[in-house]
């Protein structure tokens, strides 16, 4: 094992210990078996290693001086970044014995501000995924590293004389300054080589729109906190847009400060922003541009090449006009013209609520076109060598592009990837890519803020190669990833004071400020109307809220997390307005055959109230065909229908019910409009009647020390599921799989209930995170025959797993139904280095539920009492609270009138869910503030 802890094997041939020759010629089956054993064993074997902080390739823990002595045994934290669509958000990684066990947001990073999203939380799971790629493979067989080095050397020798002709490098979106720099060196050394980028979720139209408006690839970063009226044209700033954590925080910050930005969302499918919109306009994609034109015309935008009509436009325009410079128009998935229109409108309004910034990517380009060019060249036989870094075009390129067939023909194709995915299977070479938490790198956030990515955990895969390491072999000068990153920043910062600046960047998690905003004039001839969409059913492609474009499809936490609006798990469904579905006579779960452009697929139908009629939303990211058992075959692959240019909308969809039911797993048993007393809404400034503490024959139990309580602000909740996933990661909550979910056995301690209210055509949606209520008069406790659930001295409703005999009566008597039962033994799947060692694993046959993160409370309490001081407010943060992008969850001591949670409870919006039952919950809610699409009571 010593070679694992030594300097991790880089591309330096001298450092490469010779592999036993027998390995290369051993029969395939034996190797696979050996490999399988390693897959299972490796992560467990590494668990016994304690403390690897002195390993040169390891990162730099936070607060290093203070913790140095304890670092070996206990926990350490690292500030680093994770990327999404090539753009980074800052995280803090908590490790135990060198293993990452939990991620949290980095409060200093502008794209996080301390919050996380579900995808960041799931990084811990993918890091420890037993199905990640671990071996260098040639034609599917594991080979020693030396063979790869030979192959790369041969390739270099072959390509160098002809200037790299025939070499293509395909990457995902690259914001890394270092990778950008090294790519530049490669392209200089091989002038005939080409670099392409591919991202199925890339917004090419936004880039094109910026080019039309300003003549250069700028990006408009909204400042939600400074806007009074925001018009989203298909944009989802709270959900999927880059920088969404920041936008959500800005939005709620202004809302809390009483400067609530009025959110007007015009979109086809209901999005998280649409759900929280003050005014939402369901808009068929064909109406998007006419609507925007009508608004622009009403605003007096100059240079419009065409007009448009929409009944809602006048009202929206006057609202924007009234806000003047505090108005903001954001365009999302749509045509380039729509983006150009948004830029023009912002310019006309003189909007001060946005920053025009240089594009954060190292080389912005329309990625759909870039991939199409590559595919065409490959098909034409102009490509001899193709290096694919991190991208998976064999799966997520539009099927119409024929990329898969073209790739199959290549004589030399090398896939550098985290998994043996669809692309890896078609490439002659596959090289494992390290997990972002294991490797050095750098990156930029949505606003261009740079950050250095440092390894926060012991590397679990020996043979992994980073992009830079592989490219450096091609350049003939092998460097480690760390050296390359350091070189980039040494060049940027200069030698003087570099070490301090470097250490500071690692400690802070950011490596500088965002670039200064640009002042760009609106170019002439910016408006080039798109061709009108033909009438008829249109397909709208959208990232799935659990698997995004499919890259996250192998994360079991994400697959099982019910999608915020549809509550679908382990798959996707064709989403339609109930009215549209009624035309086809569909009921939820019916299978439909969708055909477009000569291709067809089978998909389950699921209704989405508020969806624009006449179109079908097809979430991308389903139907993976390779990469691991978690993601394979979950849902349908919408890329099969996507047009070759990667457009978000495709007209001419035909739909045919097959008359069968499709296997669809959802936790939504009430998929219709259903309001509930559980959600309360107040008019702005209105206070709810605060009920008298209901009389009891018994005296109240005293809670002389702390009395923990939680307040959840429903007005702030955007339903993003970050709390639920953070809870799952923190508390070793098992994944149960689609069958068990379909039986109603999901284990999430914290669920997010979604209620639709209002008309079915355009309802508002409310989200309600429901953890254990920790009722002071807990109904679950008196029915337990063995005292397995009790109250502690601080008012926590504790669940004593070892005492539980599993009568399940407590769940029967829980009106909130927050208790979860271990129907089977999940421990063997959880007892990995990724588990949180502070939370015990639960055996089969016992109940479990939210503990208010009692381990965090006891740890903080012990620490405080050991130091001889009282606990401070805010010292105990629950996992859900910490993850929430809108700080909707406050937690603390309700005995302390000055604590945040006490103050939240004193506001007029405070209420207890099902308070009439007399359970006196400690978890309480703050009512939603009514918006104009719903009526206050």
């Amino acid at each position: 094992m010593s070679d694992r802890t030594g300097p991790r094997r880089g591309p330096d041939p001298a450092a490469e210990p010779p592999q036993p020759a027998a390995l290369a010629s051993a029969p395939q089956a034996a190797l696979e078996r050996r490999d399988a054993l390693r897959l299972m064993g490796a992560s467990l074997a590494l668990a016994s290693l304690a403390g690897c902080d002195d390993v040169p390739e390891h990162g730099h823990p936070l607060h290093a001086p203070a913790r140095a002595a304890d670092a070996a045994a206990a926990s350490a934290e690292y500030a680093t970044v994770l990327e999404m669509d090539g753009l980074s958000r800052g995280v803090v990684v908590r490790t135990r014995n060198g293993h990452a066990v939990k991620l949290e947001g980095n409060p200093r990073h502008p794209a996080s501000l301390g919050a996380t999203d579900i995808f960041a939380e799931a990084a811990v799971l993918s890091l420890h995924d037993p199905h990640r790629s671990r071996r260098i493979r040639r034609d599917g067989r594991p080979v020693p590293t030396a063979m790869l080095q030979d192959a790369l050397a041969n390739m270099r020798a072959e390509l160098a004389p002809r200037g790299g002709r025939g070499l293509r490098i395909l990457t995902g979106p690259v914001s890394s300054p270092t990778l950008g720099r090294v790519m530049g060196q490669v392209l200089a050394a091989f002038p005939e080589a080409r670099w392409h980028q591919h991202d199925p979720l890339a917004d090419d139209a936004a880039l094109e729109g910026a080019m039309r408006a300003f003549g250069r690839p700028a990006t408009a970063v909204p400042e939600m906190g400074r806007a009074r009226t925001v018009l989203c044209l298909g944009a989802d700033p709270l959900g999927t847009m880059p920088g969404h954590l920041r936008h959500a925080r800005d939005w709620i910050g202004a809302r809390r400060a009483g400067r609530a930005p009025r959110l007007i969302v015009a979109e086809a499918a209901l999005s998280l922003s649409g759900a929280r919109a003050d005014h939402r306009i369901p808009l068929h994609p064909a109406e998007a541009e006419p609507f925007a034109r009508a608004v622009a015309a009403a605003l007096g935008v100059e240079g419009l090449a065409a007009g448009g009509q929409h009944p809602a436009a006048a009202e929206v325009a006057s609202a924007l006009a009234a806000a003047g410079p505090e108005a903001l128009v954001i365009a999302g998935h749509g045509s380039a013209a729509l983006h150009a229109l948004a830029h023009a409108m912002n310019r006309r309004l003189g909007s001060s609520a946005l920053r025009l910034l240089p594009h954060p990517l190292a080389r912005p380009e329309p990625m759909g076109a870039s991939l199409a060019t590559l595919a065409a060249e490959m098909a034409a036989g102009e490509v001899t060598h193709c290096l694919i870094f991190g991208a998976n075009p064999a799966y997520d390129a539009p099927a119409a592009l024929g990329f898969e067939a073209a790739l199959r023909k290549l004589p030399f194709a090398l896939h550098l990837g985290f998994r043996q995915d669809e692309t890896a299977r078609l490439c002659s070479w596959h090289v494992p890519l390290p997990h972002p938490l294991e490797a050095w790198g750098d990156s930029r956030a949505f606003d261009g803020t740079p950050a250095i990515r440092q390894p926060a955990t012991v590397p679990l895969v020996e043979e992994a190669w980073g992009e830079v390491e592989l490219l450096s072999v091609l350049l003939g000068a092998s460097v480690t990833a760390r050296a390359a990153v350091e070189a980039s920043w040494r060049a940027a910062w200069g030698e003087e004071g570099f070490d301090a600046r470097w250490a500071g960047a690692l400690e802070e998690g950011i490596a500088g400020d965002p670039p200064t905003p640009l002042e760009l004039p609106l170019g002439a001839n910016w408006d080039r109307p798109s061709p009108l969409l033909p009438s008829g059913l249109a397909a709208v492609f959208a990232p799935d809220s659990g698997t995004r474009g499919g890259a996250e499809a192998h994360e079991a936490w994400l697959q099982e997390m019910p999608r915020p609006l549809t509550k679908i798990t382990w798959g996707n469904a064709a989403l339609m307005a109930p009215a549209t579905a009624a035309e086809f006579g569909l009921s939820p779960g019916d299978e439909v055959e969708l055909s477009l452009g000569g291709r067809s697929l089978l998909a389950p139908f699921w209704p989405m109230p508020g969806h624009a009629p006449g179109c079908v939303t097809l979430p991308l990211g389903g139907g993976r065909r390779a990469g691991g058992p978690v993601g394979e075959g979950r849902g349908f692959d919408a890329y099969a229908l996507r047009p070759a240019d990667g457009a978000w909308v495709a007209p001419g969809l035909s739909l045919r019910p097959t008359g069968r039911k499709a296997p669809l797993v959802t936790t939504d048993s009430h998929h219709r409009i259903d309001s509930s007393e559980a959600i309360r809404t107040v008019a702005p400034g209105e206070a709810l009647p605060q009920p008298e503490r209901d009389a009891s024959l018994y005296k109240d139990w005293p809670y002389p020390g702390h009395a923990w309580g939680m307040a959840i602000d429903l007005d702030a909740c955007i339903g993003c599921n970050a709390c639920a996933l953070a809870c799952q990661a923190e508390n070793n909550v098992p994944v149960v799989g689609p069958l068990a979910v379909s039986q109603g056995r999901e284990m999430h301690w914290l669920r997010v209930d979604r209620y639709h209210h209002g008309p079915e055509e355009n309802p508002a949606a409310s989200f309600q995170p429901v953890p254990c209520m920790h009722c002071e008069q807990a109904p679950c406790e008196p029915v337990c025959p063995v005292n397995a659930t009790l109250h502690d001295h601080e008012g926590l409703n504790v669940m004593v797993y070892p005492r539980c005999i599993g009568t399940r009566t407590c769940s029967n008597n829980c009106p909130y139904k927050v208790r979860r039962f271990n129907w089977s033994d999940h421990r063997r799947f959880l007892d990995t280095p990724a588990r949180n060692p502070d939370v015990s694993l639960r055996p089969r046959g016992v109940m479990e539920k939210c503990t208010y993160c009692v381990h965090r409370i006891t740890t903080a309490r012990s620490a405080a009492s050991t130091e001889g001081r009282a606990l401070q407010d805010g010292e105990v943060e629950t996992a859900c609270q910490r993850a929430c992008p809108t700080r909707a969850i406050t937690f603390g001591d309700i005995n302390d009138p000055e604590s945040d949670v006490s103050r939240a409870r004193q506001g007029g919006r405070h209420y207890a869910m099902l308070g009439q039952l007399g359970t006196r919950p400690r978890t309480t809610y703050l009512a939603r503030v009514a918006t104009d699409t719903e009526d206050a009571p």
């Binding site: 018994y698 139990w701 008196p782 009790l790 109250h791 502690d792």
Partner: protein
């Protein structure tokens, strides 16, 4: 073969009424150590013998009280002294919820005590008993009735007792040996 001392004399009847009448006569004649056997309960004969069943009830009642006290006491002692816990905000001594088990345990103990008390009062189980030596006694569990005069009765002497019994019009009078 030496004769063991006699246990007493058994008179056999084929009617419950004659047996009851015989019991009354015997009691009137001053016999004290006597017993009657029947295949089904004959309350009149029991009355004539002066038997009271009340002790069975007293035993059951005492057991019920003891069971209730132990049940309620255990619940109280555990909940208040051994390990007081906060169960859903109820006070440690939430006595109303102790009542259902107290009630059930009282009934359980009463029933068990009724059976055990009845057996103890009857001196059962006693598998071997001289009465089974009596001729034709197996029909005591079917259709015959018996009156038995014990040899330990002060009035007992073999001939006098036999003579007395014959006067009660039995089907048969037989001696019962003691072993």
């Amino acid at each position: 073969m030496s004769h063991p001392p006699p246990f007493g004399l058994m008179a056999e009847f084929d009617e419950a009424e004659t047996m009851t009448a015989a019991v009354r006569t015997a009691r009137a004649a001053g016999w004290t150590r006597l017993e009657a056997y029947s295949p089904y309960p004959v309350p009149e004969a029991a009355e004539a013998l002066g038997v009271s069943a009340a002790p069975v009830g007293y035993i059951a009642m005492a057991a019920a009280a003891a069971g209730a006290a132990i049940s309620a006491g255990a619940a109280w002692y555990v909940s208040v002294h051994l390990y007081p816990v906060n169960v859903g905000g109820r006070p440690p001594n939430a006595w109303p919820v102790f009542l259902p088990t107290t009630y059930l345990v009282a009934i359980l103990w009463a029933c068990a005590a009724a059976l055990i008390g009845m057996l103890a009062l009857n001196g059962l189980p006693r598998l071997h008993h001289p009465a089974f030596f009596a001729r034709g006694f197996h029909r005591a569990s079917e259709d015959r009735f018996f009156l038995f005069l014990s040899a330990e009765d002060p009035l007992y002497d073999e001939d006098g007792a036999a003579h007395f019994l014959r006067g009660l019009a039995p089907l048969r009078v037989s001696e019962v040996r003691s072993e």
